[in-house]
């Protein structure tokens, strides 16, 4: 097992010493999920493809990698894209990922399943029949055990342009999986979202996903919104999280994060470079219908604060993000034990002096962990809050 661990660190840690210009398709992501039996699953994406590894000792040692893609793929290497993994209560693992179909960044989202404990995955299938473009797919298991996925879809862009009308951005699309036959029909929850930022996903209850995304408001203002479903087929109204007034035609490649606490309160974290607000922010709403409160500033804008992630456990909320001090990238952490009404002082929980993946959070019961892949140190799973 030690050998496997070492091999993994080498594989994910040090890229080959080629000319750096050849790394256009290099990706550096590791995305975790815990199974109900305590197994840590990790899906890793690189220019070589997608593999899954498992750990039964909280990331100290890992199984041999199992390949997800069978054919060579041009993985979506955008800075906000990553293969993801979710584990159903019955132990089924589902990996989602996107590829580039062409040089114009049209994507195709796929999923693959493993019912055999991760020993092998099914041949990846598209999440939707439409082939126009899908990116930033994210999946989750709702509290009743149903698999949901949402992504940014460009089918309405193609239709609109064909009809001679311009169409800004992309659409937030979704589908539910009902059985082994895979995902059902695709529906559009919202048109004119920003097209290049990751989505935040949480559940307000069974059949009630809540998706946070960078929306395009009138005047090309790319601020954030949350849509909470009223039932599996009915996306609720679009709630603006904050008025940052970030007017931009460009792609920020910098999406939000959303969590829902057991009391139903919603917790949002995001990056903006708006005229009213610049940097990294957090806001909370009492429930799925209440407006979001006044945003809290997480970090000063001259420390390049980025990639926020918020996680709710049964008794706490955890918030992490990246800061850069000129030499080191640091992962900063805050915790709240009163549903986000007050927060601890900010602590640095990990750092690195070279390239790194987004910091992610993952829970096993009430225990929260930072999951972080860095070029120098490799993969780390660090328990948060021990002794604090």
């Amino acid at each position: 097992m030690r050998g496997c661990l070492l091999a993994l660190i080498v594989a994910v840690g040090a890229p080959p010493a080629l000319a750096q210009h050849t790394h256009s398709t290099e990706t550096l992501t590791a995305t975790p999920a815990f199974g109900s039996d305590g197994t840590l699953w990790l899906v890793r994406g690189s220019g070589e493809g997608i593999v899954v590894v498992r750990s039964s000792d909280e990331g100290r040692t890992f199984s041999s990698p199992v390949a997800v893609n069978r054919r060579r793929i041009d993985i979506d290497w955008g800075p906000d894209a990553r293969p993801r993994i979710v584990i159903a209560p019955d132990g089924e693992a589902v990996v989602t990922f996107a590829i580039f179909q062409d040089k114009r960044f049209n994507g195709r989202a796929y999923y693959a399943r493993s019912t055999g404990g991760g020993g092998a995955f099914t041949e990846p299938k598209p999440v939707t029949a439409d082939a126009t473009s899908q990116r930033f797919e994210t999946a989750g298991i709702d509290p009743s055990g149903r698999l949901f996925t949402a992504w940014l879809d460009k089918r309405n862009v193609a239709r609109s342009i064909a009809a001679g009308r311009p169409y800004a951005g992309a659409a937030l699309a979704f589908a539910w999986a009902d059985s082994a036959t895979g995902f059902g029909d695709t529906h559009v929850a919202a048109d004119n979202t920003c097209e290049c930022c990751r989505l935040g996903l949480a559940f307000a209850g069974p059949g009630r996903p809540a998706v946070m995304f960078r929306n395009i408001f009138a005047g090309s203002i790319r601020d954030h919104a949350v849509v909470t479903f009223e039932n599996p087929d009915t996306p609720g109204p679009l709630r603006r999280v904050s008025v940052d007034d970030w007017k931009t035609e460009a792609c920020p490649h910098h999406g939000p994060s959303l969590a829902i606490a057991p009391d139903g309160s919603q917790h949002a974290a995001w990056f903006t470079d708006g005229t009213r607000r610049k940097g990294l922010f957090y806001a909370r709403a009492d429930d799925a219908k209440s407006p979001f409160g006044q945003p809290l500033t997480l970090a000063p804008a001259d420390r390049q604060p980025s990639r926020p992630y918020v996680l709710a456990t049964a008794d706490a909320l955890h918030l992490v993000w990246k800061e850069f001090d000129g030499d080191k990238t640091q992962i900063r952490w805050q915790v709240s034990h009163d549903r986000g009404l007050s927060w601890s002082v900010t602590r640095t929980v990990a750092e690195t002096t070279d390239a790194s993946d987004h910091p992610l959070l993952v829970a096993r019961g009430t225990r929260a962990y930072l999951s972080w892949l860095t070029k120098l140190e490799g993969y780390r799973l660090l328990p948060l809050g021990a002794g604090s």
Partner: protein, 168 residues
């Protein structure tokens, strides 16, 4: 000729294929690494210079580029430095070909080659979160003017005129 030989030696040292330097890819960007920014700015110090940050993965940048090509063709007084600042390093031949098509083959050109983009951006401007496009105009006395987003070329021309007046 000597420059080509030097570039070939540099490319060898960096492990880049020498074949990539032949004819059509003559405008391949130079690798922008940790420490590059200070050197580039020092090279141009004392002379008004426009630094334009763009990206192959940035749609509005690609729309804007030909306008910079036009400006470069019309005004001989422009010192223009292009920096491809994609968060994921892009193939230099694609960066070079895109600049060629935009009429920017003769402009000085650089391209991010390091995934540790936090460091590269910090060296340029700690407050810059990486949004593209972005234009930074540095006057002879070192005064910097930042134009975030797609640049208003009217402002750029006015700035160039002001620099010419100041130097008389």
């Amino acid at each position: 000729m000597r420059r080509v030989a030097f570039a070939a030696a540099l490319a060898l040292a960096l492990g880049i294929g020498v074949a990539a330097l032949g004819g059509a890819q003559a405008s391949n960007p130079q690798p922008f690494e940790r420490g590059s920014w200070a050197k580039i700015v020092a090279d141009h110090a004392g002379r008004p210079t426009i630094y334009h940050f763009w990206g192959l993965t940035c749609g509005p940048c690609l729309v804007e580029l030909p306008q910079w090509g036009e400006l470069l063709a019309r005004r001989r007084d422009v010192r223009l430095v292009l920096v491809a600042a994609d968060p994921v390093p892009q193939p230099p031949e694609q960066v070079g070909a895109t600049l060629d098509r935009a009429g920017l083959a003769r402009a000085e050109s650089w391209s991010f080659t390091d995934r540790f983009y936090e460091k590269l951006r910090f060296e340029i401007d700690p407050r810059w979160a990486g949004e593209l496009p972005r234009t930074v105009m540095i006057a002879a006395d070192g005064t910097a003017t930042v134009l975030p987003g797609v640049a208003d070329l009217g402002k750029v021309r006015a700035w160039l005129d002001a620099q010419a007046t100041a130097s008389r």
